[in-house]
């Protein structure tokens, strides 16, 4: 554990997951975990590369913590294989793994001071006293807890405890650090500040992070890539941009951000475009690229609210335009969100940023409006 490789390897920062020759640092192969008849983790496969911040994102109870516990050795997989840094982890107990974990509850030792908490892992490695002291004080300053070194955990605030837990899990310089909802107990403002700090720390130490969260904004901010989980399965893996802009299923589109979903069937299937007939719209929806599907197949078109345009006048430069009337307006400060009731009866969410302070062409409740989106704004999802 103590090879002392604090300096991150100077590797080219090209996305390793796009490189077919890159060797993943952590490989999860068809891992399943059952509790009795209940399947908590269902045939999960993942490749995570060195230096990544990989977020496991999913609702409560979807198996995120269980997957982390499998990686750190507190649970044994019912089937499948976990390989960390080229080593199969089967049969390796938690205390012998070269990974560390920051627990959801922080799990600080209540009877030890902050300093002793952080030093504990180093003591177990039998490092010389002087080195332990040096590394503990490095960590204390990294997480800005120098003044609190001799306090007990119950004398600290939630944010301070979180820092101690982070320091304790980083002090052994693990190659892989797992963080279970690390910022869950913090309030919104502190959470946002800490997110950036986490990224800074991760970059300066070059540790690979696997972060569990149920907060999609947090996942978006922190991660190099996101794995979206539901019911024990990973449904999509991709960069925050990919996950947001190209969701592959209704679930992912709906889970990340908000979305307008138009259910329908493929009516025309061409090489370069398809038409999708939906009861939600008066005319077929135009999609400017071919998709793998057959005529008559049930699909949905997902359109983000900020990609829908709204106007009292005709929208000329768009093929997908529909008419309706404004049903609700929510002023959010930096943007306004409109609910438009289309003539088909479908409700559409439209979000517009408030660039001007006032607009002579202000949209009011009950106005008849045109809504539409550019050809490439809609994403077709079939599952």
């Amino acid at each position: 554990m103590s090879e002392g490789n604090a300096t991150p390897d100077a590797e080219p920062r090209a996305d390793p997951w796009a490189d077919p020759h890159a060797v993943p640092f952590l490989q999860v192969r068809n891992v399943t975990k059952k509790f009795g008849a209940f399947v908590a983790v269902d045939n999960v496969s993942l490749d995570i590369y060195k230096g990544e911040i990989f977020c496991l994102l999913g609702g409560s109870g979807c198996g995120k913590s269980t997957l982390l516990r499998l990686l750190s050795g507190f649970e044994t997989a019912s089937s499948g294989q976990i390989i960390i840094d080229g080593q199969d982890q089967e049969g390796v107990p938690p205390f012998a793994r070269k990974t560390n974990m920051m627990f959801q509850s922080y799990a600080l030792f209540p009877h030890m001071s902050v300093e002793k908490n952080i030093a504990y892992g180093l003591k177990r490695d039998g490092l010389p006293k002087a080195e332990i002291a040096a590394r503990v004080s490095d960590m204390l300053s990294l997480v800005q807890m120098d003044q609190f070194a001799s306090r007990k955990p119950h004398q600290l605030s939630g944010g301070q405890r979180q820092r101690v837990a982070l320091a304790r899990s980083l002090v052994k310089k693990p190659k892989l650090l797992m963080l279970d909802e690390p910022l869950g107990a913090l309030d919104k403002k502190l959470r946002e500040e800490t997110q950036f700090e986490l990224i800074k720390i991760q970059e300066s130490l070059g540790v690979t992070f696997v972060v569990v969260t149920h907060d999609q904004e947090e996942a978006m901010t922190l991660s190099s890539r996101i794995g979206v989980m539901t019911e024990g399965r990973i449904v999509q893996v991709g960069t925050p941009h990919e996950i947001y802009e190209y969701p592959q299923s209704r679930f992912v589109a709906d889970f990340i951000g908000s979305v307008n979903m138009f259910e329908g069937r493929i009516t025309e299937d061409h090489e370069d475009h398809v038409l999708i007939g939906s009861r939600d719209t008066q005319t077929d929806i135009f999609v400017p690229h071919g998709i793998s599907g057959v005529v008559g197949q049930q699909v949905a078109v997902a359109v983000r609210p900020e990609k829908v345009q709204i106007s009292k006048s005709q929208l000329h430069d768009m093929r997908n335009t529909f008419t309706g009337k404004i049903d609700e307006i929510a002023y959010m400060g930096n943007s306004s969100v409109f609910q438009v009731l289309l003539d088909s009866g479908k409700r559409v969410r439209v979000s517009q940023s408030n660039r001007m302070r006032s607009n002579e062409d202000t949209l009011k409740w009950g106005d008849r409006v045109h809504v539409g989106w550019h050809d490439d704004a809609g994403i077709v999802v079939s599952s």
Binding site: M101, Q104, A107, P110, Y120, R124, P153, R168, K172
Partner: protein
């Protein structure tokens, strides 16, 4: 409303008087000058002096203290191991059965516990020649067994409350399970161990029935001596002795309660 609260106050006072008047009168009469237990003859501490000159009582007190100390220590060790196994390793179904069985001595009549232990000792002696006659050793064994039951109840409740993830965190940082137990589990449950020890100590000091069953010649505990003295008539030095015991026991209970509440508070954070 006012009527009712006055009624409640009255009931409360009555209840406390009912509970504590006998004890209070005992304490007061331990400072009685007169030899007659029922007649106040002025304040004096002479019975306390008398007490400390009575070799029989001093010896019994020493025996009782030794028994209580040793049996409380054994009880805490057994209780800790028992509850740890029960909470951490037993499967769900067997857990409730075992936990009921471990607490059974709490509700079992003392006479039955005493009798069954006596029979066991006699049978053991016939079979393997141990424990070699009845005396202090047999009392210690007897007190350890029922002390362990009480200790287990106290320690179990602390172990159940304990956040398992702090043990996991220690393992995650490289501590093997035995280390985790001594570095993390034991310090965290230490206040419970302390109060369990005090409880077992007090119970042992208190016990008359079980000790009478399993004791032999030359090993009379303090309660046994008091009881035999009282049968010959209540003498004021017994009052003095009882007052000292009450003082010690209350001290033990207060310390145990403080320990428990302190550990609750620090673990609540």
């Amino acid at each position: 409303m006012k009527r009712r609260s006055r009624f409640l106050l009255f009931m409360g006072v009555f209840g406390f008087v009912f509970l504590y008047a006998p004890i209070l009168s005992l304490v007061i009469f331990s400072f009685n000058e007169s030899k007659l237990v029922t007649v106040w003859g002025g304040f004096s501490t002479k019975w306390y002096g008398e007490l400390f000159r009575d070799p029989q009582i001093l010896e019994a007190a020493w025996i009782s203290a030794k028994i209580a100390f040793l049996s409380a220590s054994i009880a805490v060790v057994i209780g800790t191991i028992g509850s740890f196994v029960l909470i951490r390793f037993a499967r769900f179904r067997s857990k409730s059965l075992l936990s009921m069985m471990i607490t059974a001595p709490l509700v079992m009549p003392e006479v039955i516990i005493g009798l069954s232990l006596l029979l066991l000792f006699v049978a053991l002696q016939g079979l393997i020649g141990w424990p070699g006659g009845r005396g202090m050793l047999t009392i210690i064994i007897a007190h350890s067994t029922f002390g362990a039951a009480y200790a287990a109840v106290v320690i179990q409740s602390r172990l159940v409350d304990m956040d398992l993830s702090i043990e996991e965190a220690a393992q995650d940082l490289g501590a093997k399970p035995v280390r985790v137990f001594f570095d993390v589990t034991l310090p965290v449950i230490a206040p419970a161990l302390m109060s369990a020890w005090l409880l077992a100590f007090t119970l042992s000091l208190d016990d008359l029935v079980i000790a009478s069953f399993v004791s032999g010649p030359g090993a009379s505990t303090l309660p046994m001596v008091i009881f035999s003295k009282v049968r010959l008539g209540v003498s004021p030095d017994v009052n003095a002795l009882a007052t000292i015991i009450i003082g010690l026991v209350s001290l033990g209970i207060i310390v145990a309660a403080l320990q428990m509440s302190r550990s609750k508070r620090s673990s609540a954070n």
